[in-house]
């Protein structure tokens, strides 16, 4: 579709852009202490944009002369990202870490980040991919270093920026090699070229794919490209950590799915059928191994952590591993299960971070000791945190279980050659129990019991309910999620 026609279908992004611009302008007129108000502007803009997405007749087409696509799959991720961002914006309003900083930029940059994610989930061109990754990365660098007076925040930004620049550089080099092989940056043309002979096995192709994986893997914290995750998550403002653990990960996975199925495969899986890789490169096996490595490492190291925030960082690595497990199966079920998992993951992971946020607001700390006896002091917080931990472990009847269930189901449906993946996933769930329940143990079985009961304040309570109720309810009745995912399972694709 040409550029002008595309504009009408680009309404959500346009709304977002306008929102960001007006936020920047709005910020200029606000005194520093009123700057959090910008958040509500962005909040409104996001809702509008979300509504625009919701009402869009989901045509499956390319926009802007094949630079991006518009399809229900992308819309699904956009809505997911908006949802996560809305939660984070509310949480940011009560994040006491941000006190004393002018917060206008915080929300504007968050808006730009969301814009970048929108682009990421709909990219079908290496240029758009690179651009979107950079937008997301650069905004993330800034946001994680937002607490300028906090050394840990500074440090996390520095690590993030070096790591990010390096990763995107390597990925870029890999993309240049792909461009050299295919002569194009467009996914569909690359796919054609690969099938036409460029896909035969050659070392340069391996190198190119691995280099691209460095970039993608960095975005979704896949082992061995995950090293930045714990340090950045620990140092960044908690709300940003929560955001990073959900939204860019979702975007990265969407990109991952699209790239591997459209460029490296025949795209049939995107139509809901069987699947073949178009290259001789055994990348599904590679991804499978990486998935196992990711969840195992995430879980094993999470066992060791003293800080709950950092533990959650590793746990988010492990969850990336679970989701990646469904990728090598190369089936529609696999992709759908990842989408389902993301929905479930959004609620439980954000919720857990919000509890961390609240405790940090209260005690200024985030180690396990700070949680001792919490279940008695703040019963609601304790119960809600227990729900999140149970859900993250993947026990019924919580959303986390349903997510895992669908992942395992798609893996097992993939045939007996994938059973080992399911076993690894299963054992990892057992290991994860140990550290998730350390939180529960600390909250309930340790520390002095207190008779004074504290109740969290309204916005936090609302956030916790808004995340914990779905975490529980979606474990009991998740048909709507399935429907949504099934309806969203339409790609703009070209089948060979």
């Amino acid at each position: 579709m040409n550029n002008l026609q595309s504009l009408s279908l680009y309404l959500p992004e346009l709304i977002l852009t306008v929102t960001v611009l007006s936020a920047i302008v709005f910020d200029l007129f606000l005194p520093k202490e009123k700057s959090p108000k910008v958040g509500w502007l962005v909040f409104g803009g996001l809702i509008l944009s979300g509504m625009a997405i919701w009402v869009q007749k989901s045509p499956t087409t390319t926009l802007f002369m094949d630079a991006i696509v518009l399809d229900p799959f992308a819309q699904f991720f956009k809505l997911l990202i908006i949802l996560a961002t809305l939660f984070v914006i509310i949480a940011s309003q009560v994040n006491s870490e941000l006190d004393g900083y002018s917060q206008g930029e915080y929300y504007s940059l968050l808006g730009i980040l969301v814009f970048g994610l929108f682009l990421m989930v709909s990219s079908v061109d290496l240029i758009s991919v690179y651009l979107s990754l950079e937008v997301v990365s650069i905004m993330s660098f800034i946001l994680s270093g937002y607490l300028k007076n906090d050394k840990r925040s500074n440090e996390s930004a520095l690590k993030y920026v070096i790591y990010g620049a390096f990763s995107s550089g390597v990925m870029l080099y890999g993309m240049s090699l792909i461009y050299g092989i295919a002569g194009s940056t467009n996914f569909f043309e690359i796919q054609n070229q690969l099938v036409g002979g460029g896909g035969e096995y050659h070392l340069i192709f391996v190198i190119a794919v691995v280099m691209i994986l460095v970039g993608f893997g960095y975005k979704i914290s896949m082992v061995p490209f995950h090293f930045w995750t714990p340090d950045v998550y620990e140092g960044a403002p908690t709300t940003i950590t929560a955001f990073l653990s959900v939204a860019p990960k979702a975007g990265g996975l969407a990109l991952f799915i699209r790239f591997f199925h459209q460029v490296m495969g025949d795209g049939v899986a995107l139509e809901g059928n069987g699947f073949l890789t178009t290259t001789e490169l055994p990348w599904p096996q590679m991804v499978a191994v990486l998935a196992v490595a990711t969840m195992t490492l995430g879980n094993l190291v999470a066992l060791q952590q003293k800080s709950i925030k950092r533990m959650l960082a590793y746990s988010s690595i492990a969850h990336a591993g679970y989701m990646l497990m469904a990728l090598p199966v190369l089936s529609a079920d696999g992709i759908q299960s990842i989408m389902i998992y993301l929905v479930m993951y959004l609620f439980m992971n954000l919720g857990a971070f919000f509890v961390v946020l609240y405790v940090k607001n209260k005690t200024g700390n985030e180690t396990f000791e700070d949680y001792s006896g919490l279940g008695w002091k703040m019963p609601i917080l304790g119960i809600v945190m227990t729900v999140f931990m149970v859900s993250l472990t993947g026990l019924p009847p919580t959303a986390g279980f349903i997510g895992k269930f669908y992942i395992f189901a798609s893996v097992i449906k993939g045939g007996s050659q994938f059973y080992w993946l399911a076993f690894f996933g299963a054992f990892n769930s057992v290991i994860s129990l140990y550290y998730y329940f350390r939180v529960v143990k600390v909250m309930y079985l340790e520390g002095a019991k207190s008779d004074i009961i504290e109740s969290p304040n309204q916005p936090i309570l609302g956030l916790l309910l808004a995340t914990s109720v779905p975490s529980l309810f979606l474990g009991i009745y998740w048909q709507p999620v399935i429907k949504w995912v099934e309806n969203s399972f339409h790609f703009f694709t070209q089948i060979l």
Partner: protein
Amino acid sequence: MDQLVNYLYISAILFSLGLFGVITRRNGIAVLMGVELILNAANINFVAFSRFGGMNLSGHVFSLFVIVLAAAEAAVALAIIITIYNSMQTVNVDDASSMKQ
């Protein structure tokens, strides 16, 4: 000069040197220079492939964007390095290692 591989070798060397710089330089700004080398290596590739791939200019456009983004990235990176310098009086990246394990 009319051989694609010549350019590719040059870019490979540049890329490797860039990697080496990123890995070994302690000074944050020097690390940044390493990153610039990597990006330039990629750009050489893009332009070279464009030249030998029938002069389709998407390679040029790509490298154009890379240059632009490199600028943005450099700006942000330097800003971050400066905040680090302000708070820690050092720009050595391995001094920033309070968070680990």
